[in-house]
Amino acid sequence: MRNIDSKEVTLAVKALVMDANYFLPEDVLSALKENKKKEKWLLATNTLGMIIENAQIAERDMVPMCQDTGMVVVFVEIGQEVHVENGLLEDAINQGIREGYEEGYLRKSVVSDPLNRKNTGDNTPGVIHYTLVAGDQLKIMVAPKGFGSENMSRLKMLKPSEGLQGVKDFILETVELAGPNACPPMVVGVGIGGTFDKCTLLAKQALMRKLDQYNENPFYRDLEIEMLDKINSLGIGPQGFGGQTTALKVSIEYFPTHIAGLPIAVNINCHATRHKEVVL
């Protein structure tokens, strides 16, 4: 048994939410730079240049790269040997969000009720997903999610007969419908299989993956590469102004599913793909 004080969790989450908003992950910055080099359409090249410059200003000045500092999604992996003491883990995480958003000058963008919309004033609650794993570590990943891109995400319960082509069509259609509204270049997370709820979770987990990594299964890896290529042939381009770089990456996660189902979820992220993690 290993004891972890909930205060330690709060401090960690507080630092993570600030870092996630100021510092674009290295792999995302690299992808932006690589795509800028490959882009031959002038307006697209200049637009990517401004996005890269923005990331550099945010890092240097320690200010949010985007004013939509998002609703915080948190992935927690709890080792079965871990015992959290002095308070509930959930409360400790939300306290970390509360403190980080206040001290980090991050925007409070959460309303307490989706229909009676009063701002909670502190950007809590976060949306927290827990997984129990072996061992005695506590791993926390925070991913502030902006809603420009989140609002363009979609789910469909395909018929198994629609198969691979149905999956490809749905991914492309979702990107097409998102267009300029999701602040391209996008990062596209896809979840295939599971149940109604599982496939959307898979799609969000897919967004956590580093951009230089592929699904271990060669079938899905090939599909990731093919879909990125198809998306970048649409011509939507950075900010929808036209160009090659409509998406930086397509990541796919899959899970067993029912004999009568083929659920698919596409979770769109923009170029401000923000996530930071720590292991306690």
């Binding site: 200010v63 949010p64 790269m65 004013q67 991050l106 420009g148 939507i236 036209g242």
Partner: protein, 189 residues
Amino acid sequence: MDIKLNTPLTKESIKNLKPGDNVYLTGTIYAARDAAHKKMMELLDKNEELPFDIKGAVIYYVGPSPTKEGEVIGSAGPTTSLRMDAYTPRLLDLGLLGMIGKGRRNDEVKAKIREHGAVYFAAIGGAGALIKKTILSQETVAYEELGPEAIRKLVVKDFPVTVIIDAKGDDLYEIGREEYLNWKHAEDK
């Protein structure tokens, strides 16, 4: 084509803009988004004055992040414009000439832009830190209680925007993509 424009805009100053033009705006613009637009419609319904002079004005759809000590404003990139589509035709009728946001506008807004010779600009979505540096001052002019959704007067210098919908109603989101694809297909031959 890089163009410098001052606010307030005039029909003359914007009539030759084309989709894809890079414009640098200097002067006063008004930050307002969902809640503020709804409140402005309520004022108009009651035949009351708007909180600022709408003639030739530029509205920027933005809800900035909080202001750090010693700074002018927080990060201030654009929010998605289509949420303001319901309110925009009325403001265009009253003399609004420029809007800055990101993403598509509906057909009614496009038609009104064409009717009045107005212009719709996009600021780079997600470039909150970069845009912040072009804002010299801010002042809340109405609805302080709305926090990030209050109406703010922003004084900007060389705020970079791209023309999306010009006075003729042509749309970069359609034209830009088409031009790129035509060029690409020709290149690939």
